[in-house]
């Protein structure tokens, strides 16, 4: 079963909008209609695609595998740290490793990333220390890293907003005459937000070098994609004047190839591309969510068979590109990562109380100064009483 055939959760309109319903193998494609791009099947079989080819060394392939394994391990650790009360909340990326590592590894250092709140795998690719991601979920800050150190913007919680920031940033890149590109992540639910449509308009009009990377994980909390759209999302792009492509989001090779191609298009000054990575949120929306209230186990099981990591492992093994030692090493490395993260979180200090008043303004504000002083005096009065 292809990824696409599962996608058709309900019958779509058969009008000129041109949706396709079943396996690409069965339905002849209209010439201008993008296929679901796949380069590695769920069974670990390497297939080709006329528009998206990629030639990776064994090292690179193992690298992608390692990235995904470590990201999953980190994510699992965070989920368990939340259960232990060390984090207030966690938004798991389970199931979306290929979409994130594939797109993340397509980036150059000088490219810039605008994530949502779930791009832990992309953060990993950018070299953001995973423990830094945990600050906001623990409640010690609202964003614990310097965006400019790794060209990885802070997580954005208000849905869709970051797509406009990415577009503006990309407009600036073009103004500077740089050949960097920008990537904006968002979800299937986010596609309904006016801001996302406005970012499509601005990026099209200014021909901004930005890639819109939608992880369609089938759910926006409890709402399936039918509540957000009537036809597959990638098709939205062409109505704004730029190409859209749907890629198997559980196929790290395809995600890498498609994103790379879109980034290169941006660098060449040809403007934005929408990439829809067709994937699945294997876990709950966040640790406070209970998906049993709204979705069937069978759906999850069907997607389990398309696991993004397993297929790469099968491929590496079948092709003899990695030996047992490599898998053991990766396993050990991932255990070490888990341990490091656990320890780092447990020893993460609470912020200083006076931080409430810090960084509200860059150049200061009289009222903040006044309130800071009053608050300090108020706290000092308790300290005195306590004496």
């Amino acid at each position: 079963m292809t990824v696409e055939s599962t996608a058709a959760r309900k019958p779509r309109r058969s009008s000129g909008a041109g949706t396709k319903r079943a396996s690409a193998k069965k339905t002849p494609q209209a010439p201008d209609e993008p296929q679901l791009v796949q380069l590695l099947t769920p069974e670990g079989e390497r297939v080709t695609h006329p528009d998206y080819e990629i030639d990776l060394t064994a090292d690179e392939l193992r690298g992608l595998y390692r990235d995904m394994v470590l990201t999953r391990r980190f994510d699992a650790e965070a989920t368990s740290l939340q259960r232990q009360g060390e984090l207030g909340l966690w938004a798991s990326l389970l199931g979306q490793e290929a979409a994130q590592i594939g797109s993340g590894r397509a980036l150059r250092d000088d490219d810039y990333v605008f994530p949502t709140y779930r791009e832990h795998g992309v953060a990993w690719c950018r070299g953001v220390d995973p423990t830094n991601l945990l600050g906001m979920f623990r409640g010690v800050n609202h964003g614990g890293w310097d965006p400019n150190s790794n060209n990885f913007h802070l997580y954005t919680i208000v849905i869709g907003s970051q797509t406009l920031h990415a577009t503006g940033y990309a407009m600036g890149v073009a103004k500077d005459g740089a050949d960097s590109a920008v990537i904006a992540y968002f979800g299937d639910g986010a596609s309904s937000q006016g801001d996302v449509a406005e970012s499509f308009t601005f990026s099209a009009v200014y021909n901004a070098p930005v890639v819109f990377f939608c992880q369609n994980n089938q759910w926006a909390i409890s709402e399936p994609t039918e509540k957000q759209m009537r036809v597959p999302l990638y098709q939205r792009a062409q109505g704004f004047g730029f190409p859209g492509v749907r890629v198997d989001g559980n196929d790290v090779l395809a995600c890498l190839a498609v994103t790379k191609s879109a980034l290169e298009r941006a660098r060449r000054g040809e403007g934005p591309t929408l990439v829809e990575a067709f994937t699945y949120r294997m876990g709950a929306h966040t640790t406070t969510d209970d998906p049993t209230r709204y979705r069937a186990d069978e759906e999850r099981e069907a997607w389990k068979a398309k696991d993004p990591i397993l297929r790469v492992r099968t491929y590496l093994e079948n092709q003899g590109l990695a030996d047992a030692a490599f898998f053991e090493e990766t396993e050990a490395e991932s255990e070490a990562l888990g341990k490091r993260v656990r320890e780092a979180v447990r020893s993460m200090p609470d912020p200083d109380t006076m931080a409430i008043f810090e960084n509200v303004y860059a150049d200061g504000h009289a009222l903040v100064d006044e309130e800071r002083a009053q608050f300090a005096a108020y706290r000092a009065s308790f300290a005195e009483e306590g004496k």
Binding site: G88, L89, G135, M136, F137, R138, G139, V140, N141, H142, I157, V158, I159, G189, A190, S192, Q193, G194, D195, A220, I221, S222, E223, K227, Q228, T288, D289, R293, Y294, D350, P351, T353, A355, I356, F357, V360, H365, L367, V368, E371, F375, Y378, S381, F382
Partner: protein
């Protein structure tokens, strides 16, 4: 039915159920309000019992939710909209302040828009950014909207009934950290007018005014003050637009001292309006300036700092002491 003890969230659920049962024009709409029953389970069971025609899971777009609710109201429906969290209402701000608030006036009274917007608001639940804000002043400044907030289960039930029955748009702020606080709801009661304040505890030395989540804190403060021999009157404001200034005035004419408490930032907050107007009304009665206790002029802090940021018992008592010291 008569009287039942319910958590606030369940009282709201019962009130929505009652409205859906009573008036076929009432709709419940918002993100995740259907199948899931809302992220706080406030709409739990309604989708099952009333179906997707009445309890509507919407696309993820707040402007779209409020804008289509306006359209549905123009068609004769009475939408009760849920905004998932306080910090997510702003994409809908334009539709709320320029359309929902003004269409009755624009049409010289021809159009009525009985839309209720429910917003779980305030902090204290250890959440990430945007999930703990108190934006009520940003709506109360706008003519055409009515702004209310219940503090207990009975008010949650009845005030929502009244809001839905009224013909004006109402922003219904729900004190999310009190969702699980239980209280008695008398389903046969004749409720007080929606926009009246209520004396929660009588006192003679000073008046505390609060609403929503801070009413509980103020009652605790009054109890603590009583132990020290200070008689503090506590008013539950209940409505931030209009404000029942008469009830506050009557109290202040008696106590001669007023402290206003809210979670929202003090600067340009509801406390400012109350202070200004009560000072005007009670100029010769006040023995001390009206004092305000509330949020600082800073974004709502990360969860590990919220206990220090939120006005708690000590900060309220500190203000009581400062007022009494005049």
């Amino acid at each position: 039915m008569a009287v039942k003890k319910l958590p606030i969230a369940k009282a709201i659920n019962e009130s929505l159920r009652k409205a859906l049962e009573t008036d076929p024009k009432v709709l419940v709409m918002g993100e995740d309000v259907g199948q899931l029953g809302g992220v706080f389970r406030v709409t739990d069971g309604l989708f099952k019992d009333f179906g997707e025609g009445r309890v509507i899971d919407t696309p993820l777009a707040e402007s779209g939710i409020v804008g289509t609710a306006i359209g549905l109201a123009l068609r004769g429906y009475r939408p009760v909209v849920e905004i998932q969290f306080d910090g997510f209402v702003f994409p809908a701000y334009d539709q709320i302040v320029t359309q929902l608030a003004k269409m009755h006036a624009r049409s010289l009274g021809k159009i009525k828009l009985p839309v209720v917007i429910r917003i779980p608001y305030g902090g204290g639940i250890g959440a990430v950014e945007h999930h703990s804000e108190s934006p009520e002043a940003l709506f109360a400044h706008v003519a055409g909207l009515k702004i209310v907030s219940p503090s207990d289960a009975s008010d949650a039930y009845w005030m929502l009934q009244q809001a839905i029955q009224g013909d004006d748009p109402v922003i219904f702020f729900e004190p999310k950290r009190r969702y699980w606080d239980k209280g008695e709801v008398d389903f046969d009661a004749i409720p007080a007018p929606l926009h009246s304040a209520r004396v929660e505890r009588a006192g003679t030395d000073l008046t505390l005014v609060a609403y929503g989540p801070m009413v509980k804190v103020c009652k605790e403060a009054a109890a603590a003050a009583a132990d020290e021999g200070k008689s503090v009157e506590v008013l539950d404001l209940r409505s931030m637009s209009p404000i029942d200034f008469d009830t506050i005035q009557a109290s202040v004419e008696k106590t001669r001292r007023l402290v206003v408490v809210h979670e929202a930032p003090v600067f340009y907050g509801a406390g400012a309006e109350i202070a200004a107007r009560i000072t005007e009304r009670c100029f010769y009665h006040l023995e001390a300036p009206v004092l305000r206790v509330g949020g600082y002029h800073a974004p709502y802090p990360p969860a590990r700092l919220e206990e220090e940021y939120l006005p708690g018992l000590d900060r309220v008592l500190d203000a009581v002491d400062r007022s009494l010291a005049y």
